[in-house]
Symmetry: C2
Subunit: 225 residues, 2 copies
């Protein structure tokens, strides 16, 4: 049996200027040589499973910690910790629909930043609000799963426009859904021409090496520049 995960009850931020606070946090992370990835998606698109597969590929090469944000439950942080053995804490937002920079900082205060290269923040499952708040992360990533449909970049423009990479998950069920991958890529690039698009199946691990490779490169660049 593993130890129970640490649960942090996140308090509402009091800072008026989140963008300024996010810039400050990013600069602090830069100084410490810690890369923060903000991972977003709808509920149920497979964030936690994708993270477990990605961490398994990377954990012997870089030092990783995970912060799992959720409104209420602890299931994700426990899952990550049990499956990968890496430090994982749960952030309870107490009903709040997103994290901003100050809320992210409350989580980071509970991470041993001196001994970590990469912190992954799994944001609240929501395609709307998390896109509006800079968490102070060095990169934004999102997961869109095949069952959600190829038209999501048309309906949630801001989310797709702020993400550096879009992982298309659940590629194994493509035969059972009307999902056109080329059309989806086209819609994503309408919102953000520079976005990387990486199709994967987190359940089997197929394609996850491409995402892990992309992430490893970002972490290295962040530490070198």
């Amino acid at each position: 049996m593993t130890d129970p995960v640490k649960v942090i009850e996140i308090k509402k931020s009091v800072f008026a200027d989140n963008d300024e606070d996010a810039r400050k946090l990013r600069a602090e992370l830069k100084e410490k040589g810690v890369f923060l990835l903000n991972l977003m998606s709808s509920p149920g698109s497979g964030k936690t499973t994708t993270l477990i597969q990605t961490i398994s590929l990377l954990k012997d090469r870089i030092r990783i910690a995970v912060m799992e944000a959720d409104i209420d439950s602890d299931v994700d942080a426990v899952k990550i910790k049990e499956a990968t053995g890496i430090p994982s804490i749960q952030l309870h937002t107490g009903g709040m629909c997103h994290l901003d920079a100050e809320m992210t900082r409350q989580g980071l205060d509970n991470v041993d930043l001196a001994n970590v290269d990469l912190v992954i923040l799994e944001n609240v499952g929501n395609l709307v609000c998390p896109a509006e708040f800079d968490t102070g992360s060095c990169c934004n990533a999102m997961i869109l799963s095949v069952p959600e449909g190829e038209d999501k970049p048309l309906k949630y423009p801001l989310m797709f426009s702020i993400c550096d990479v879009v992982v298309i998950n659940k590629m194994d069920v493509l035969p059972y859904f009307d999902f056109n991958l080329d059309k989806c890529k086209e819609y994503i690039h309408m919102r953000n021409p520079k976005a990387q698009v990486i199709p994967i199946c987190a359940k089997t691990g197929e394609g996850v090496d491409a995402f892990a490779g992309w992430l490893l490169e970002q972490v290295k660049n962040w530490k070198q520049q």
Copy 2:
């Protein structure tokens, strides 16, 4: 070719007490004999397809209008209008992640309430924020689709606790996902012991008659009581 749908740009509400405003709106609807259903879900769970199937079963028995809320696009209102021929308008929230009573009222001002029995509001795709704001609706319904996973009532407790009915969509793909329907029902009833749970496949129409029957009964009760 059908006429283009009417698009309403929703303005931010100025009322401080949304609960009071929602009660007022509900009383007005009662007086007019109009039933308002608030339909919520994650992005891509099949709200629009479910509505098209439901409306096809009911439109010869009661007079229906639809308000499709979306951050940006018009695709849903156009789809509904083309597939069912019933009055359908698009509400643009301009980035806002939910509708409250005043925003719902702005939509209803563009519906011919004297000639309608049922108005269906398709809320913004989001399991968090829409649950926090009473729209003034007479009932709340939500759709959870099989690919999203059975654990969602554990993670989004408020949404499940305020819904009178939970439609489980995409039952046709059950063989390809680890989704335990009994477990899901158990989690839903942990949040709301009175919630009806109705499994359907909106794509084929299977099970939609049960949801349509439930809805018809609510409309009749509302008009009679």
